[in-house]
């Protein structure tokens, strides 16, 4: 294949990269007054990228650039999802930034580069590409967390995130080097073949695998590599937390799929066991510690950790149907998570974050509709039928049962019951407690519309779950 023909498949990334550079320059030239312009351009760029991904979609697996870049149905779906989820995320973030005086083009520009990194990860054909994409993503995120330089909490969070991220990154790289040493290849497909072909290097392979798993677990925020999550979620500006909590999770899932499934399916017996430990610990710690939180951003952080535990269940099944269930879970999760943070943004006002649980008290009296929106979000996160979150849990739990881990399914159900407590507590606060103040919620019409659609989609898609599941199954190739 000629280079031009190969680059054809990279058009979306190229568009995003050049677009991001253009935005960077324009933002610098046009100055701060024009920052809404930066925002608009960013959204258009995301739309164009998503369109381009669909445009170049080959409909099958295509490997280009010497095996470094893969475009397959899985990659296409995840990349389109990343772009499309980023759209409302930037929308909510924009609203927050406006309100809280974070008039900074960096938010969007860093976001775009982070998305570029995610796209690279989702299309990675070698361990090196995975690492490249991951670093681009991570570095952008560190900067984003620190964006509000005047905030001590944000700076602290960014510092923690950076140091721990560097540690994790180092471990991942170390693991990659081990794998390379054992097999002599960085290509994921070649890696799988090499592993399948040899039996005498299991020690080094397992050693490398463990380090790689640590890298993935850190990115996902699975226990015990989750310590950064609550501090970063709480410390970062909410618009950044919103971003971190939703879009990169899809990328982390893509990374897990690429490395574990594409590259090390023959070692499934090993990584299944490791993921089970991570998953169980995540479900336990996430659901239990969330109960003790009074800050809703922190509570969502632990909620995320528990959701990661559930998400891992699908991968643990180590079968295509399980991967589809996990993918379904991550997409549903990103929808719920951004809705939840959007509610936090909505309740906050100029200079004041509404990030405490008690800010939700009596919301039904102040604004019945938004209380209802939050109710949908919370019920969905708790896994109450018929909301989408129920189906997400249902599918992964069914898959682990089919894969022969009924105990694991039992643990998952048990801790989802415990988890229901802190979600439903919010509903109780909204509907049964007296509000601390009676000010009506101020919001733009666009904000109301997007948030309502966000929440209602959980209900509507939940009434007909095969719709979204069909996409996931198709992407996995079922």
């Amino acid at each position: 294949m000629a280079l031009s023909a190969e680059l054809y498949y990279l058009i979306p990334e190229i568009i995003l990269l050049s677009g991001a550079c253009l935005v960077l320059v324009l933002d610098a030239v046009l100055g701060k007054e024009q920052w809404s312009f930066t925002y608009t351009l960013t959204q258009l760029l995301l739309l164009a990228t998503a369109g381009a991904i669909l445009f170049v979609d080959p409909g099958q697996a295509v490997t280009v650039l010497g095996g470094n870049f893969i475009l397959d149905p899985l990659g296409v779906l995840l990349k389109v999802s990343i772009c499309l989820v980023a759209l409302p995320v930037f929308f909510y973030g924009h609203d927050y930034n406006l309100e809280h005086g974070l008039h900074k083009g960096e938010y969007y520009i860093l976001g775009l580069f982070a998305i570029l990194g995610m796209l690279v990860m989702a299309s990675a054909g070698t361990l090196l590409t995975v690492y490249l994409g991951l670093e681009l993503l991570s570095l952008s995120l560190y900067a984003m967390v620190a964006m509000n330089r005047d905030s001590r909490m944000a700076s602290e969070a960014a510092m923690k995130y950076f140091v721990l991220g560097a540690l994790a990154s180092g471990m991942l790289l170390y693991g990659i080097s081990m794998l390379y040493g054992a097999t002599g290849t960085l290509q994921l497909a070649g890696l799988a073949n090499a592993i399948a072909g040899q039996t005498d290097n299991t020690l080094i392979l397992t050693f490398g695998l463990i380090f790689v798993i640590v890298g993935i677990a850190f990115k996902l925020g699975a226990v015990p590599f989750h310590m950064w999550v609550p501090d970063v979620y709480e410390g970062a500006p909410t618009s950044v937390t919103l971003f971190i909590s939703s879009v990169p999770k899809i990328a982390a899932f893509a990374m897990a799929m690429r490395v574990l499934v594409d590259g090390m399916q023959p070692l499934a017996g090993d990584w299944q066991g490791m993921l089970i430990i991570l998953s169980v610990l995540s479900m336990i710690a996430g659901n239990v510690i969330a109960i003790a939180q009074t800050n809703i951003k922190r509570m969502f952080a632990y909620s995320t950790i528990s959701h990661v535990g559930f998400l891992l269940l699908g991968i643990i099944a180590a079968r295509p149907a399980g991967y589809a269930a996990a993918m379904f879970y991550v997409l549903v999760y990103s929808l719920m998570s951004m809705g939840g943070f959007a509610m936090v943004i909505l309740l906050g006002r100029k200079g004041k974050e509404a990030d405490l649980l008690e800010d939700f008290k009596g919301l039904s009296e102040r604004s019945p509709w938004f209380a209802f929106v939050m109710l949908i979000l919370m019920f969905s996160m708790a896994g109450v039928p018929p909301f989408l979150g129920f189906w997400a849990k249902w599918f992964v739990i069914m898959e682990v049962i089919r894969a022969g881990f009924p105990m694991l399914a039992g643990i998952a159900v048990f801790f989802s019951v415990i988890g229901a407590y802190y979600y439903i507590r919010i509903i109780k606060l909204m509907y049964f407690d007296k509000p601390l103040e009676m000010k009506a919620i101020k919001s733009s019409r666009q904000m109301r519309t997007v948030l309502s659609l966000n929440a209602l989609s959980l209900l509507i898609l939940g009434l007909w779950p095969p719709l979204l599941m069909a996409l996931c199954l198709k992407a996995i190739g079922l």
Binding site: V163, T206, I213, V214, M227, D231, D270, G273, V288, I291
Partner: protein
């Protein structure tokens, strides 16, 4: 006679009840009373038609299933009617008394906000009672039985904002539950041994099972028939308010007066009497059960009458009188004089409804004052009420010639004839009861209508006779109370009126023996003057006159002198407080204990909140791991890594 008529009799009140109950707001107050009165009126007139057909035209007994509700195994549960002389008589009594009371209610409940609801309940009550008396099987009997129980609950608590009314209706319901439980056991036993719930089948099989015994507790053999009959009678004790299940009836006076009349005179309380008469083929097989019936009835007849002596609430006196009269009927049943029981039931229905409505009329005139100590001298203001109440009271005490005379005399005579175990005691009890009846009846009459007026000035100025809707039913009821005996006594008691509807074994047939000495009603009347009964009654009236008109200060002195006895009577022998303490309190204690131990401690504290606390405690503990220090976080990651390495690395291959 087609099924359609029977069905119409039952359904007309039901339809009226449904319309008045569900569409009361649409049809308004007058709409509600018109539609229910029309419904019950249709039932009453058609009942008369049926009565004529059955009694005068001598039609065959109608016994057919109308509708099969369900079939399960070999059992089919049906809705069916058995129309013979017994049920035809009951139908007429029930529908007519109910009809009169419906009309009376227009006046009595005139200003009540729950007007439509009240009419709806009353018609529903009539429906349930008709289902009960017309049934041809035990299941439908039970349906009607529970139906009247339910509606009586609703009606006693009709003024549901009064705490006493709620207490009373709950009490009535609970006490009846006790009875109903026995009743249900009886029905279950019938089903178990007869494999059928159809009257005809059961009665036909009964003689074959007369010698069957059952063993419920180890080593104790009981005659099956005794067991069944006693269980059924426990049900009757609940509904017909026999000691010791009588406690609900006086309290049920909390309901509006028309209800007191409807429930206590004509219908619900007679359900038990009717049922035992209907089951006569079974009871005749158990001497034990009949003795029990006899003794329970005698106790009720005498001792409840005594309590009536010390009551001051006009309605409560009538209520205790009802208890006592029900005792008479039960005694008659126990003496195998079923016909006499039903006869007394019929006459009592009229004069007791009359007395209740008369009391109601007084209460209206007195602006809902029910205490007789604040009445007196009302005869001047309420002439119609006065004269009708006099008729009712005379009938109640068995004044020669009135309806009550014939029925009560027959009962006393029957007990006298009976050789059954307990009949000696019963005879003494009913004779003494006559004196007591006369005394409390005329105590009520004198205190209310004669003597010095004791009401306040304001009330006295506004005293006037009740409206026509009240006085007309009074008059209409007074006539049969006075003269009914002349027409019914002969046929019902002695001339085989009930034919096969009531079965009496030859050796038990006391009425049959009495029939040999019966030579017409006049003879009966004259014969009575040779017996002690009417003199005892006169003595009672005389005593009442002496105590309450001539020397009105004496009763208080007597009460003081015989303080102990007086206290016992006022406390109604302590039944109420005993039940209250033992059963009500006991049940509540047990319930509260179980609630504390089971619900609060085990379920709430340990299971629900306990697990919650454990989780919360764990949460508090685990969150401390999140110290906020970077080195702790990094340390955690390293630990995690090491654990994974330690657990998953193939150490065996490494070391080996």
């Amino acid at each position: 006679m087609s099924d359609t008529i029977y069905l119409a009799i039952v359904l007309a009140p039901l339809i009226g009840a449904v319309i008045a109950g569900l569409f009361g707001r649409v049809i308004g107050r007058s709409g509600a009373h018109w539609v229910t009165i029309a419904g019950v009126g249709i039932a009453a007139i058609l009942s008369l038609v049926v009565y004529k057909h059955v009694v005068f035209d001598g039609a065959a007994v109608h016994n057919a299933a109308l509708y099969t509700w369900l079939k399960t195994g070999g059992l089919s549960i049906e809705v069916g009617f058995l129309i013979d002389r017994l049920s035809a008589t009951m139908m007429v009594v029930v529908t007519f008394v109910s009809w009169m009371i419906h009309i009376y209610t227009i006046g009595y409940m005139h200003d009540d906000p729950g007007y439509q609801r009240f009419f709806s309940y009353m018609s529903l009550f009539t429906f349930a009672m008709l289902m009960l008396v017309m049934s041809n099987n035990f299941m439908q009997l039970f349906f009607g039985w529970e139906g009247v129980g339910l509606v009586s609950y609703l009606l006693i608590g009709f003024w549901f904002k009064r705490e006493t009314a709620i207490f009373a209706n709950l009490k009535a319901f609970l006490v009846n539950r006790v009875g109903d439980f026995g009743f249900l056991l009886g029905i279950a036993a019938i089903l178990m041994y007869f494999h059928s719930l159809d009257y005809a089948t059961v009665f036909a099989m009964a003689p074959g099972l007369a010698a069957t015994t059952i063993e419920i507790f180890e080593g104790r053999e009981w005659l099956l028939m005794s067991f069944i009959c006693i269980c059924l009678f426990i049900g009757a004790m609940g509904k017909s308010a026999q000691v010791p299940l009588h406690v609900w009836l006086p309290d049920s006076m909390e309901g509006p007066t028309p209800i007191s009349a409807l429930i206590h005179a004509a219908t619900m309380v007679t359900a038990g009497i009717f049922m035992v008469a209907r089951m006569s083929p079974l009871y005749e097989l158990s001497e034990t059960a009949l003795s029990m019936v006899l003794i329970v009835g005698a106790i009720t007849a005498f001792f409840m009458g005594l309590v009536g002596l010390v009551q001051n609430d006009i309605k409560r006196v009538v209520a205790y009188s009802t208890l006592s009269q029900l005792g008479y009927m039960t005694v008659a049943l126990g003496a195998s004089a079923y016909a006499a029981a039903i006869f007394h039931l019929v006459t009592h229905a009229f004069f007791k409804a009359l007395l209740f409505l008369g009391a109601g009329s007084v209460i209206i005139a007195m602006h809902h004052e029910q205490d007789m100590r604040r009445m007196g001298g009302l005869s001047r203001y309420l002439p119609v009420t006065w004269i009708t109440c006099l008729v009712g009271s005379l009938a109640l005490i068995g004044f020669p010639g009135t309806a009550g005379f014939f029925s009560k005399d027959a009962i006393i005579e029957a007990v006298h004839e009976s050789q059954r175990f307990g009949s000696g005691f019963a005879y003494v009890a009913v004779l003494a009861g006559v004196f007591v009846t006369a005394l409390y009846s005329f105590r009520l009459f004198f205190l209310t209508f004669h003597g010095a007026p004791r009401m306040d000035h304001h009330t006295r100025e506004h005293l006037h006779e009740s409206p026509k809707v009240v006085t007309v039913p009074l008059t209409v009821l007074a006539i049969p109370s006075a003269v009914l005996g002349w027409f019914l006594a002969g046929p019902m008691l002695y001339q085989g009126y009930f034919q096969d509807a009531i079965h009496v074994a030859h050796e038990n047939d006391v009425l049959g023996e009495m029939a040999e000495g019966y030579h017409g009603t006049w003879q009966f009347l004259l014969h009575a003057f040779g017996a002690p009964v009417i003199y005892i009654a006169f003595a009672g009236v005389l005593t009442a006159w002496l105590l309450y008109l001539k020397y009105p200060h004496v009763p208080a002195q007597l009460a003081e002198r015989f303080d102990f006895l007086y206290r016992i009577l006022v406390n109604k022998y302590g039944f109420d407080s005993a039940y209250q303490k033992l059963f009500a309190e006991g049940a509540r204690r047990i319930g509260e204990g179980l609630w504390r131990a089971g619900d609060i401690t085990i379920i709430d504290d340990i299971c629900v909140n306990g697990s919650g606390h454990v989780v919360r405690w764990c949460a508090g503990l685990l969150r401390r791991l999140q110290s906020g220090f970077l080195y702790d976080y990094a340390f955690a990651m390293i630990i995690g890594l090491l654990l994974l390495l330690g657990y998953f690395l193939p150490w065996a291959s490494l070391l080996g």
